[in-house]
């Protein structure tokens, strides 16, 4: 097996390395010579810890153009999704118990809705168009008088397809329906202006944007009727919405990562576009290859391709030392075909051949060239190996 140094990491949609500046800022709050105090403590060190957290909230608030007081810290996007969906549905249940989402959402969203179905809520599961986009007309058709919550992700974690959250949000806002956006893949990567967007709840995480794992946030809009019931109970922190000792070093890591992301977003996007273009140009002529989700609708940090006549598990092993994903990282140990790609109309066999390449700041042209060579040779070898293959 390849050693760490030989690996070509192209799985930045699963996680990113912590930026050195982020690590430095975090370390200062962890060791004995730094401020490691509990921010709930009332002594000087505790109050300083609160100031660090407030500064980080300001950095994230600036990135999203929102009041930092609208941000609730969580352990990550999964918890944020659960708090938004379960908490939002519970808070509004007296008004109605109908909810809407898409079949292509992350498991953190779909499983939360499945739990609400178990609790007696009615959920409409919308299918995407072949491009991966949501047809707004189908959303409008699905709305009912008792619809209380719509949850649509911003950037799809498997295909990279970017939904028009401004348009979807406008439809919801007209009817006073809570609109939740899972923005785990987009915060810090695409410009998001929460002062202008009709979004009520937005989930985010640090580790997709060069911050640490274990910290996320939920944005809750300052609008009448927008609120969530808590899922956890305890010390009363964060206005009792998400109690528990605040991990100051994680929060500062997220804040620093947000500030860095904001300062270099245009540069990052240009780089990701170049990397995706280089990779797609290098493999698009292979017979039977296709993208999952329309490339023109997708975030440039992700390229998801399927290929005919190839067994996906063997392709993944043949591609080593490339670190790529077959499905989302959260369920990639499963050999089941991706439910996201099946919802896009892909056959089981084609969905199993899918490879998600995702790029990041450290990705180089040389990495992409190795990936192209590796993908082409792996496909050729496996096709030669198959009965009826070309010798």
């Amino acid at each position: 097996m390849a050693e760490q140094a030989d690996l070509i990491y192209l799985d930045y949609a699963a996680s990113t390395p912590v930026d050195p500046w982020v690590a430095e800022a975090m370390t200062a709050l962890m060791t004995a010579d730094g401020n490691y105090a509990n921010p709930s403590s009332t002594h000087v060190a505790g109050r300083q810890s609160v100031e660090h957290i407030a500064h980080a909230a300001g950095q994230l608030g600036t990135l999203l153009n929102t009041d930092p007081l609208r941000l609730i810290w969580t352990s990550g996007a999964t918890e944020s999704d659960n708090l938004a969906i379960l908490g939002g549905a519970h808070y509004r249940q007296k008004r109605g118990r109908h909810l809407i989402t898409m079949r292509t959402e992350h498991k953190a969203v779909t499983d939360a809705f499945t739990e609400l179905e178990r609790q007696g809520y009615s959920v409409t599961w919308l299918n995407p168009e072949p491009s991966g986009l949501l047809d707004i007309a189908k959303l409008e058709e699905a709305l009912r008088d008792d619809t209380q919550l719509v949850s649509i992700m911003h950037i799809n974690n498997e295909t990279g397809v970017v939904q028009d959250i401004a348009q979807i949000g406008a439809v919801c806002r007209e009817r006073d329906i809570l609109f939740h956006v899972d923005a785990a893949q987009s915060v810090g990567k695409l410009a998001i202006d929460l002062s202008a967007l009709p979004v009520d709840l937005m989930s985010m995480t640090a580790h997709k944007v060069y911050g640490p794992k274990g910290i996320g946030a939920l944005y809750i809009a300052d609008r009448a009727g927008v609120h969530v019931d808590p899922l956890l109970f305890g010390g009363g922190q964060q206005r009792k919405l998400r109690p528990g000792t605040l991990p100051a070093q994680q929060i500062v890591g997220f804040g620093t990562a947000a500030a860095i992301a904001q300062s270099r977003m245009a540069r990052d996007l240009k780089h990701l576009n170049a990397m995706r273009e280089r990779l797609w140009s290098g493999i698009q002529d292979i017979p039977g290859i296709s993208t999952n989700g329309a490339i023109e609708c997708a975030f440039p940090g992700i390229l998801n391709v399927s290929i005919e006549d190839i067994e996906g598990e063997s392709l993944l092993l043949a591609l080593e030392p490339l670190c790529v994903a077959t499905g989302s990282a959260c369920n990639s140990k499963s050999q089941e075909p991706s439910y996201v790609l099946r919802a896009l109309g892909s056959s089981d066999v084609l969905a199993q051949s899918a490879i998600r390449f995702s790029f990041g700041r450290p990705t180089s042209a040389s990495d992409i060239d190795i990936a192209i060579e590796c993908y082409r040779s792996s496909v050729a070898s496996l096709r030669n190996l198959a009965p009826g293959g070309v010798e």
Binding site: M1, E3, D309, S314, Q335, P387, G389
Partner: protein, 125 residues
């Protein structure tokens, strides 16, 4: 570093399938089941399996198992194919039990090959 779901032996056989291919002027079989396609072709010499080749469409365990079978049975007498069982292969390659069905396709293909090899050729009638 973790080997993940594949043993070192599976990785080695998957990366170097020395017996991959299809023989001309040989006895051949193709079996398809469980989302797996396996083809074996064999040439005999003096009552023994002189050359064995395989083709496979399946997961790494299937490819490794097919390669291991070919490597093990070249040079043996045809009758030994009838005693072939996947259990030894699964153990030596550390194949997870949930893949038993796929590996059994190899057993089906070996049995088919054995039947083809022992069947009298038309000119002997």
């Amino acid at each position: 570093m973790s080997a993940g779901p594949y043993s070192a032996r599976v990785r080695e056989l998957f990366a170097n399938p020395a017996h991959a291919g299809q023989l001309a002027d040989a006895v051949g079989v193709l079996v398809e089941d469980q989302g797996v396609r396996i083809a074996f072709s064999a040439q005999l010499a003096a009552g023994r399996i002189d050359t064995l080749r395989f083709q496979a469409w399946g997961c790494p365990h299937v490819i490794a198992a097919a390669e291991a079978f070919c490597a093990n049975y070249e040079g043996r007498i045809t009758a030994e194919l009838l005693d072939f069982s996947t259990s030894d292969l699964m153990q030596s390659l550390s194949v997870p039990v949930e893949k038993t069905g796929r590996i059994l396709v190899i057993e089906d293909a070996v049995r088919s090959l054995a039947q083809e090899l022992v069947r009298p050729s038309p000119k002997e009638h």
